[in-house]
């Protein structure tokens, strides 16, 4: 009995290690491609991207293997001449079924959020996943105000999702009727990440103004 169990575990262990090793590179490449595709989608003017951490205390460091405590990861997008055209960051908030993880683009020129893309979600097909296709909803992210307050410690106005049809200000997100919870998750995800990232990033944005 022991011999059989040992043999089975041995064979199975070999198969698992083999398949892990065999697919490791392809899986890592796939994940990177998916991430880069999301960044290029939300910063369409970018031709190349760099990964950075915005650190506690207001400095910016190139992303390495491990993230320092309190660091917020973001992507800087550069055009052909190496000039900064936009920043992309990831955020997540609880949606209807599970966490909705989104990528959004931030334009330093207008201090606003432009374009969003979904990194992962499990929202109801045909209802919650309208956040990807609903034209009225996506129109929210043409120029969503994300300006900082005078002290540069937080956003001047919290980004908030409001009920469908009641958007009055440039920092509000007009929800999709029937998919309010998912819409709210998108608003919250952007707000949380923007509140954490922008006060660290905006005062130092010149440091990454051109490609190093």
């Amino acid at each position: 009995m022991i011999r059989t169990l040992g043999l089975v575990s041995g064979i199975c262990g070999l198969i698992i290690v083999g398949s892990y090793q065999g697919t490791y590179d392809a899986v890592a490449a796939n994940k990177r491609i998916a991430m880069e595709r999301a960044v290029f989608k939300v910063v369409p003017a970018a031709r190349s991207i760099e990964e950075y951490y915005a650190l506690e205390g207001g400095s910016i460091a190139k992303a390495g293997a491990s993230a320092p405590a309190g660091a917020v990861k973001f992507f800087a997008g550069y055009d052909e001449s190496g000039k900064l055209v936009g920043v992309a960051a990831e955020g997540g908030a609880k949606g209807y079924a599970d966490t909705v993880r989104i990528m959004f683009g931030y334009d330093p020129a207008c201090q606003c959020v432009k374009n969003i893309g979904v990194v992962s979600m499990r929202e109801t097909p045909g209802i919650g996943d309208k956040i990807l296709v609903d034209r009225d909803f996506l129109a929210n992210f043409k120029e969503l105000d994300a300006g900082l307050n005078a002290e540069m410690s937080a956003l001047a106005h919290e980004i908030k999702t409001v009920k469908h049809g009641s958007k009055t200000d440039a920092w509000q997100v007009d929800a999709i009727s029937g998919a309010t919870i998912t819409s709210r998750a998108v608003g919250k995800a952007i707000n949380d990440t923007a509140q954490a990232l922008l006060p660290k990033l905006v005062p130092n944005i010149d440091k990454i103004g051109s490609k190093s």
Partner: protein
């Protein structure tokens, strides 16, 4: 001799596709059947993943059938099945992350798919590797066909597309409930109805012939 062997293999293979189709006749593996069949491509991928695990694990179970003690056989089957599921899991991640996200937890849940454990216990443990793997291929194909039958109907009705290609143009109002969980039950119910209606009609015909 060879023709007899081929005929036997053919029966072995066809058993899963028609006579004992896991979805429509045995009604096994309903969890992935209902959950991932929102589109034809998901259905095919899930079917192929399950087929691979079925063939590989039935082969290994069958090869080890003479040295596996009765007392620990289920543990051995589960370890073998879990191994191949892990391999499939990595393979799908390497092929396409979109597909991996769409199938979600149901790839890992192939481990507890009763079709596979059922085949290992009822067939592979009592037959030589070739027969076991032929039977597993048939079962896998039958499962894939079953999933595809649901996936195609649900994708067309619920989304207006087939394999992602739009069928009806702009004016089509998708029947959204078909891609939601209730739609899975509706479509599965309709297919089962069709199959049992056929079976009853066949019985009735035979009864009149005999009379």
């Amino acid at each position: 001799m060879t023709t007899v062997a081929t005929a036997k293999n053919w029966d072995e293979f066809m058993e899963g596709i028609w006579k004992q189709n896991p979805v429509f006749v045995m009604v096994l593996g309903m969890c992935p059947t209902l959950a991932v069949t929102v589109s034809a491509i998901n259905a095919i991928s899930m079917g192929l993943a399950t087929t691979f695990v079925l063939i590989a694990s039935c082969g290994l179970v069958s090869m080890m059938r003479n040295i596996t003690p009765k007392e620990v056989r289920i543990a051995v089957y589960i370890v073998i099945i879990a191994t191949f599921v892990t391999a499939v899991d990595y393979a799908i991640q390497a092929i396409s992350l979109t597909l991996y996200d769409a199938l979600g937890a149901f790839i890992q849940l192939i481990v507890v798919n009763c079709i596979i454990l059922g085949r290992a216990e009822a067939h592979a443990a009592r037959n030589p590797p070739v027969a076991a793997m032929t039977n597993a291929t048939g079962m896998g194909a039958g499962f894939t066909i079953g999933l595809l039958a649901l996936g195609v109907v649900r994708e067309i009705l619920g989304n207006g597309t087939l394999f992602g290609l739009s069928l009806f143009g702009e004016g089509f109002q998708p029947w959204v409930i078909m891609v939601l969980p209730p739609g899975g039950f509706f479509v599965l119910g309709s297919w089962l109805l069709l199959f049992s209606w056929r079976a009853r009609r066949k019985q009735a015909l035979e009864a009149t012939h005999h009379a």
